[in-house]
Symmetry: C2
Subunit: 250 residues, 2 copies
């Protein structure tokens, strides 16, 4: 057990000693384990560092989007905060991981990053990187936002699987699907489930029978009408209530 404690202290040390408060681009590439040839030739492209005390947030949900951060030492947790105040931990990034990518799309961070121990991050001025060139730059910003958007969507899925019970999951799925149809110009209360129950079931992390029963019960209580894959939401407010009845700590 004392050996463990010794190991622990070893882990707390900063990986390669470097007292300077800035990092070369090559160092950054090595930290992030990404091959980055022909970059060491750049002039004064240094990256500044920032310390974060245990328990402190590097950024919070809703903060205007600024830089992204590469963790140089320490551990964080990233948390998705529900409107109700409930939260879902999305991950525990450590040295070599990157924080803040989810903020690109909406230009504000959607999650919160809190240090689990005293940590050190490299500040990467993302806006400067992305806004660089003209024509090509526009295209690239484009793709950045697509990636960021995708990240945000998968956060929602983790939240759905991590903190909702069976009926809440089904209800949330229907609501989200409706919203997506609405964004495409269709009705958000009348649409068609294009996937088989098997696919739906895998997506929701449930069994076929449980999903079927949830839909049946929704039908009985007058929340929806289903016929095969055709679906109509008749009481969207009650659906929201069912989602709010999360499983554990709401």
């Amino acid at each position: 057990m004392q050996q463990m404690r010794a190991l622990q202290e070893a882990q707390a040390e900063a990986p390669p000693p470097s007292g300077a408060a800035s990092l070369s681009l090559a160092d950054l590439a090595a930290l992030l384990k990404i091959g980055l040839d022909e970059v060491g030739t750049e002039p004064g492209a240094g990256v500044t560092l920032r310390r974060v005390q245990q328990g402190m947030a590097l950024y919070r949900a809703g903060d205007p989007f600024g830089p992204i951060y590469a963790i140089r030492s320490g551990t964080f947790k990233t948390v998705l905060l529900d409107a109700n105040g409930s939260y879902q931990v999305l991950g525990f990034p450590m040295a070599g991981d990157v924080l803040g990518l989810d903020g690109i799309e909406a230009q504000q961070y959607r999650t919160e990053a809190v240090a689990l121990e005293d940590s050190e991050v490299a500040i990467i001025p993302f806006p400067r990187i992305a806004h660089l060139s003209g024509k090509a730059g526009k295209l690239q910003q484009f793709v950045y936002r697509l990636l960021s958007r995708q990240l945000t969507r998968e956060h929602m899925q983790i939240w759905l699987l991590g903190s909702l019970g069976a009926e809440s999951r089904v209800a949330a799925f229907l609501l989200i699907l409706g919203e997506r149809y609405a964004r495409l110009g269709y009705s958000d209360t009348r649409f068609n489930l294009r996937m088989t129950r098997l696919d739906l079931v895998s997506f929701l992390g449930l069994t076929q029978e449980t999903v079927s029963r949830a839909l049946s019960r929704f039908g009985e209580t007058g929340v929806i009408q289903v016929h095969n894959r055709e679906l109509k939401i008749t009481d969207i407010e009650k659906l929201h209530q069912i989602v709010a009845n999360a499983r554990h700590s709401g």
Copy 2:
């Protein structure tokens, strides 16, 4: 019910009629709901289209990474295929969504995209976009890979929450954490849980008691040794077996 069927057919139509087999950049921006000023002035920057029949895969896990795809009409499912053959549906992308982003990092697609109905996608030559500019481009490729890497990681989390039982989740978490420590140069069998049980519990989608019991049982069966947050894996092979005992259809 017949009204529903009528609606259904309406949805099957392509959003804005455009018989050509290519799309302008501005069209693409509109499709993806992303503001893209000053791009309509580009010369011949057209994007070609591709049709995908129902049930056909746009790409499969392991395929070498090529273009990314913007869905113009139709619906897909994206599937994460476990080594054992089990699968986890990650989402149901529709018009305006993008496919293939997870392939950037490893230069091969990690998931599979299957059309749930006859669909049409715009082919975006991602490599050409990313490799465009010289010096600055290097930096940008950098960030692309970070985003893609993050996507892949969250896919794992969705898989963990969607298809594993309680003990399997805890076991998988320990193994993954060990691998991450190993990548940083530390032991993959002796490390420290830096997060509180509360955070861990939210991350795993379980309750505190269930996680505690799982760890206790692992201790009893000689798979690990725990003392507070200090942890030692003594039988890594058995941990893998526990993960393999997934919940429903393996």
